[in-house]
Structure formats: C-alpha cells, structure tokens
C-alpha cells in the first residue's frame, strides 16, 4: 500500500482510539479532579458497560439499531447506579482517603471482574452494530460505524464540556474541585457532588464501551487496556484537566494508530509509556495540569 492511503488508514484508526480513550479518560480525570480519588476500578466500569450492552441488545429483538440505542441509554445508567452504590458503600466510608481508596478500588476491580466472569462467562460476545455500512475507499474498505464512533464521542465530549461550564451542576462540581472545604462552607453538598461525580465518571467509561463494543466484543477482561491507557492520558494531560485529557487522548490515540501501523504496536506502547515517564520527570502536574495547592 502507498504512503498516502497507509497514513489515512493509520489516522482513522488513531482517531477511533482517541475518541473512545477521550471519553474513558475524561471519566477517570473527573473523578480524580473533583474527589482526589484514583479509581483503579475505572476499567471495570468500562467492561460493565460493554457486557450490559451485550445483555440489553440481545434482550431486544428486531432491528439491531433498536437494541444498540437501548444499550446506549440504559447501560450507562445501570453502570452509574452501580458506581453510586459502590461510592456509598465503600468510598464514603473511607472518607475518600487517597491511599485507602486506591486499595478499595483495586478490590472493586477484582470483585466486578470476577462477578462478570461468574455471571457473564469467559466468552467474548459480539454486539451487532446499529448499521453496517462499509465505506469503500479506492485503496481499502473502512467501517462506516467506526467513523460514527468519532462523531458520537465528539458530541458527548461537547455535551460534557457544556454541562461542566454552563450549568449549575457543573459550577458546583468545579467549586468542589477548586476547594472542597470552602465549597462546603458555602453550602454545597460536597458529599452528594462526590457521589454524582463518581457515577458520572463510571457512566462516561460505560458509554465509551457501548460505542466500541460493536467493533470489539464484550469480554470480562476488556477493562485492563482502557484503564492503562486512561492513566497514561490523564497523567500526560494533567489530572483533573478536561482540556489536557482531551489533547492527550488525541495525541496518544493518533500516535498509537500511526506508530502501530508503520512500525509495531509494541513500539507505540513503549513510546506512550516513555512519554509518561518524561512528563512525570519534567512536568509532574501534566501538560495542562496546575500544581497542587
């Protein structure tokens, strides 16, 4: 294949990765930014989203788009509810202590993963895409659905940004992130904000998973990759910075796509990890993060 089409394919693949990664990492970043909780179980909420998408779309007969749309709405809601329960039962009782919550979310990771293995099983199960239009380029074919993931993800990111910057809920969240004690003093129910943010973070991961599951089946171990990549993105972009997360996701996604097409996927992972090390050494707060107060 010639250089031009080769690069185009690499960029398309990279953009799909970026789109999903941006949503997942944004969830992780929000939870850390507002709650100062490093949620190691984030990848499992992603997995739950995919597994639920399979369950919902299989339960609904008729055109595949119906099942998929139902999954797109219901799966994140259910995952959000599960995250809410986890937050109430575990994180709140630990007073959101940073060290304790890391250990607790590791525990949640294993509990969710093993429950999925027990009730869903070890198989990778497919979800039918809502439409299967194949875009025929002169050099190769490309899935139309994959392109729609990029659009859907962009829409969701814009929506999240609007919520955070233009609504009262967003204002309250940002206030809590800026200084939770002062926010509490001003009558903001910090406790409820935490619960909401944790649920929202999990929902973002779940919605990313529902988008990706028609092109990569639901499997109980699928949460590990996104977790690692999300951490890379969040560290590079700066924990808690929405803009940084977005830029880093596009950067990592595109470089992953291009490097793995032209060289090898292993090299792409090596470079991403090296980048994390460089950022941690030279700019520990991340590219767009602000130094902690």
């Amino acid at each position: 294949m010639h250089f031009g089409p080769h690069l185009l394919l690499a960029a398309l693949e990279g953009l799909v990765t970026s789109a999903v990664l941006a949503l997942t990492a944004l969830g992780l970043s929000l939870v850390f930014g507002v709650m100062r909780v490093v949620n190691v179980a984030h990848g499992e909420f992603f997995m739950l989203g995919a597994v639920l998408a399979w369950a919902i779309s299989t339960a609904i007969s008729g055109h595949p788009a119906l099942g998929f749309l139902a999954a797109l709405v219901l799966a994140p809601l259910i995952v959000g509810a599960i995250a809410l329960v986890a937050e109430r039962l575990v994180l709140r009782r630990l007073n959101y202590n940073p060290e304790a919550t890391i250990v607790a979310t590791i525990g949640m990771l294993y509990i969710i993963q093993q429950l999925a293995l027990t009730f869903y099983g070890p198989e990778a199960r497919p979800v039918e895409p809502p439409f299967s239009y194949r875009i025929l380029l002169p050099w190769f074919g490309y899935s139309g659905y994959k392109l729609s993931i990029i659009a859907a993800s962009a829409l969701l990111l814009v929506a999240t940004w609007l919520v955070l910057t233009h609504t009262k809920i967003g204002l309250v969240m940002r206030a809590t992130q800026y200084d939770s004690e002062t926010a509490q003093a001003f009558g903001i129910p910090v406790d409820r904000v935490y619960a909401g943010v944790f649920a929202l973070g999990a929902m973002l991961a779940a919605v990313a998973a529902v988008l990706i599951v028609p092109i990569s089946q639901a499997h109980y171990l699928m949460g590990q990759d996104p977790l690692l990549l999300s951490f890379i993105v969040v560290i590079i972009g700066g924990l808690g910075s929405l803009r940084g997360t977005l830029v880093a996701a596009v950067l990592i996604g595109l470089s992953d796509g291009i490097i793995s097409v032209f060289f090898s996927p292993t090299l792409a992972k090596i470079i991403a990890t090296l980048l994390v090390a460089m950022v941690l050494v030279f700019r520990p707060q991340g590219l767009f993060g602000t130094a902690s107060r």
């Binding site: 394919l9 990778a124 194949r134 977790l227 996927p265």
Partner: protein, 434 residues
C-alpha cells in the same frame, strides 16, 4: 493485558501470597492429621487423582470451560466402566489464569499439596512451556492437550506428553499440499506473537516450499490485541491466500475487520479454526467467510459420515449437530481441540493399566508404559480417528480435517492421512534419565 510492564497487575503479588499461605496451612494440616498415614496405606482403593490445569480465566477461558466439560464427560464414562485398575478417577481442577507463571505454580501445587498422580489438560503453549520444568522437577507426568510443537520438539522433558492431539508441525505438513493445490501459491501468514504462532511461522514456509508455493509475508500480532485493521496494510497486494491463525477473546473482531478491509474482493482465506473457536460462524459480520476454508482437528458440525463413536462422543460431551451446547445454541464449543482431552484420558487409562500403576511411586513406570504405546485405534476411546504415537518424542499423529464454510456451517471437504503428517524426530526423550 497491555500492561506488559505489570504496573497494575497487583494480582501477581496478591495471589502468590494467598496461594503460599494456603499451601502452608494445608501442609501443616496434613502433617498433623492423624489419618494421614493410614490413608496412604489404603491407597489401592483410593481414587486415582488427576490434577487438571485449567484455563478457567485469562485469554484461554473459553477453551478451559469446554476442556472441563469434555474431561468431566470422559471421566464419567471411565468411572462408569469401572475406573482405572479398578479404582475410581477423581479430577482436581486448579485455574492457571492462562499464565505461564501461575501454570508452574499450579503444577507445584498438584505435586506437593494435592499429591495428584498426574497433571493434565493444558492448552496454551506458553503455559505448557512455562509449566513443563516444574513437572519435570517434581517428576510429575504431565499430559497436555496443546497442539503446539513444543512437546514433539523434545525441548521439554521426559515427563511431558501429548498423546491426544496432533502437533502443529504435523498439521501444517499434512495440509500444505492441499493449500498449494487448491487455495493459491502466494501466502501471507497472520499469527499470534507467541510460541503457538511461532510454530506456524517456522513450519509453514518449508512445508509450502516443498509444494512449490511460498510465504511472501509474515505478520505477528500480540495475542492480547483488540484491534487489527492497523496490521492489514502489511498484507502484500499480490497475496493469493491469507493464512490466519489467531487466538484469544478478540478473534471475532479479527475476522470481522478483515472482512471490512477487503469486502468481497478478498484473497482466498485459509484459517485455523482457532481464529473462530467458541465463536458462532453465523455471527453478524462474518458473512464474507462464506467459501473460505478452515483446519479443524475434529469437525464442529456433525458430518454425514460421522462414525458411531463420534456420535456417542458428541452426545456424552453434550454438543448438538452445530457444535453448540445442547439446549443453548449460542454456547459454541471448542470442538476442534477438546476431543484431545477425551482421548488423552483414555491414553492415560491404557498406560496406567499397562504399567500396573498403583500410586505416585509408580510414576516412572507410567512414563515408560506411555512411551511404549504405538497406536490408538479409532473407536469410542478415540472418536476423532486413528492415531499413531511416537514414544521417543511423546507425540501422537492423527488425521486433520479441512472444512469449507458453506450455507452457514462447516463441511469437511478434505481429510489428510496420518502418513502426510509424519516427520523425522528431532530428538529422543527416552534417553533422558527418569
């Protein structure tokens, strides 16, 4: 899984410690148990214990589940017929997480804690290779159902056997003439980037060359990869046949993305069914596979010429004519491989009877009795077909099936002969000390 550096893999330290504690507690419990000595004296009537190293979790989990079902069915059949040497057979299952490190631990656990008579059942080649030294060290007969060439290469040790499924080198050699004659001469290989894939990488080119065909590109893909389109530009345009063998949970994605990339204008496809094992070939997105060919160890779909033994085996394991679990058509089996569990257990039975096996002190005799076996006749104990066994390289050789995807099922279009897959032994395990 991409966490190759182990940054987040806290399971390792966690579980090792737990396993170690369990082992300590169990060891202490055994030492002080008053009945311990008496039990070993009454061994002749105690069950024969088979340690089953199962891929219950990890990328091999779908195989592990069906290996367990097949094993349970075989053990039931053996016990119903009076067990081995008049003793019932008991299977003890430990999960190896499809991980070589844990595989070796599990073998150690069988040897020291469960004190099983043998260890059995491993599929994934990196787990076999990782566990074999532990089996050799414990002088524990280790019967694998892996299909990799590592046992027959004589690079492992005298305690490792593969008597129930043909190895990849032999499979490739017996099918290469068919590929060159029917599919095409210019072949691009796509294989997983670990031991099992390397068998394909190393043995296909010479086998095809002997038939006047050639491998023009080899593409290795990490077994935990979840997206594949990025590899496809490496497939040269002049490719006539794509030879694919993929494993792990993302196999369906692999085949689907291949379909999106090529559409109907594709080269011929020849795949190992590993690329779609435990996956319904009628899944959405797989339509483009119609007309392509697959290797199958044992056919997934019931064939018109199935023997009575094959039918009885399918009924005992509980798979229907489409190779799915009876009562759950979505639960597709790993039919092409799991027959090896059934057949291996009958080889173990035969060898234990030949050796007059009484207990772990007879393990060396069991090894020698297994090495003395030469052939297995087709029948209820070997429903996949007849096999020969080479005791020097601990490997059996059987027939292979080439199946075509037609009308939403796999129909066998060619069966190889045992002689097609025989090769010069690369060594001799029997010269190693016991």
């Amino acid at each position: 899984m991409a966490d190759k550096n182990g940054f987040f893999d806290l399971s390792k330290t966690n579980l090792t410690r737990r396993t170690a504690l369990k082992g300590l507690a169990a060891g202490a419990g055994l030492a002080v148990a008053p009945g311990f000595v008496r039990y070993s004296q009454a061994q002749s009537s105690a069950p024969i214990k088979i340690g089953f190293q199962s891929h219950r979790t990890g990328i091999g989990a779908a195989y592990g589940r069906w290996y367990e079902k097949t094993t349970a069915a075989a053990i039931k059949a053996i016990n119903d017929a009076g067990g081995i040497n008049g003793r019932p057979v008991e299977v003890i299952i430990e999960d190896d997480g499809t991980d070589p490190g844990r595989g070796a631990e599990v073998v150690g656990k069988f040897a020291t804690q469960h004190k099983t008579d043998i260890v059995f059942g491993t599929l994934f080649s990196h787990v076999v290779i990782g566990s074999a030294p532990a089996a050799g060290e414990a002088k524990m007969p280790y019967f694998v159902v892996s299909e990799g060439h590592h046992v027959a290469s004589t690079k492992l040790n005298r305690y490792v056997f593969q008597p129930g499924i043909t190895d990849v080198k032999s499979q490739i050699q017996s099918m290469a003439p068919w590929i060159a004659a029917n599919a095409g001469k210019k072949v691009t290989q796509i294989f997983p980037d670990f031991a099992f894939g390397y068998d394909h990488r190393d043995y296909l080119p010479p086998a095809l060359k002997a038939q006047g065909a050639e491998v023009i590109a080899q593409i290795a893909i990490p077994p935990t990869e979840s997206s594949f389109t990025k590899y496809f530009p490496q497939i040269p345009a002049e490719t006539e046949v794509i030879y694919h063998v993929m494993v792990g949970p993302a196999v369906l994605t692999f085949v689907k993305e291949l379909g999106e990339f090529y559409g109907s204008n594709r080269p011929q496809l020849f795949g190992f069914i590993d690329s779609l094992e435990a996956t319904d070939i009628n899944s959405p997105g797989l339509e483009f596979l119609d007309g392509s060919h697959f290797w199958e160890g044992s056919p997934r779909y019931a064939q018109p010429d199935d023997s009575a033994a094959q039918k009885a085996y399918r009924a005992a394991v509980g798979i229907d004519d489409n190779g799915a679990a009876v009562g759950d058509p979505k639960d597709v089996s790993t039919a092409a491989h799991m027959f090896g569990c059934w057949e291996t257990l009958y080889v173990v039975k035969k060898a234990m009877e030949d050796a007059g096996y009484k207990g772990p002190e007879d393990r060396a005799k069991l090894v020698e009795a297994t090495e003395a076996l030469t052939e297995f006749a087709e029948g209820p104990e070997h429903p996949q077909g007849p096999k020969t066994f080479n005791g020097k390289i601990h490997q059996c050789f059987g027939i292979q099936n080439i199946s075509k995807v037609e009308g939403g099922r796999l129909n066998v279009v060619h069966k190889t002969k045992i002689e097609d897959g025989l090769y010069e032994p690369e060594g001799d395990y029997t010269t190693q000390p016991l």
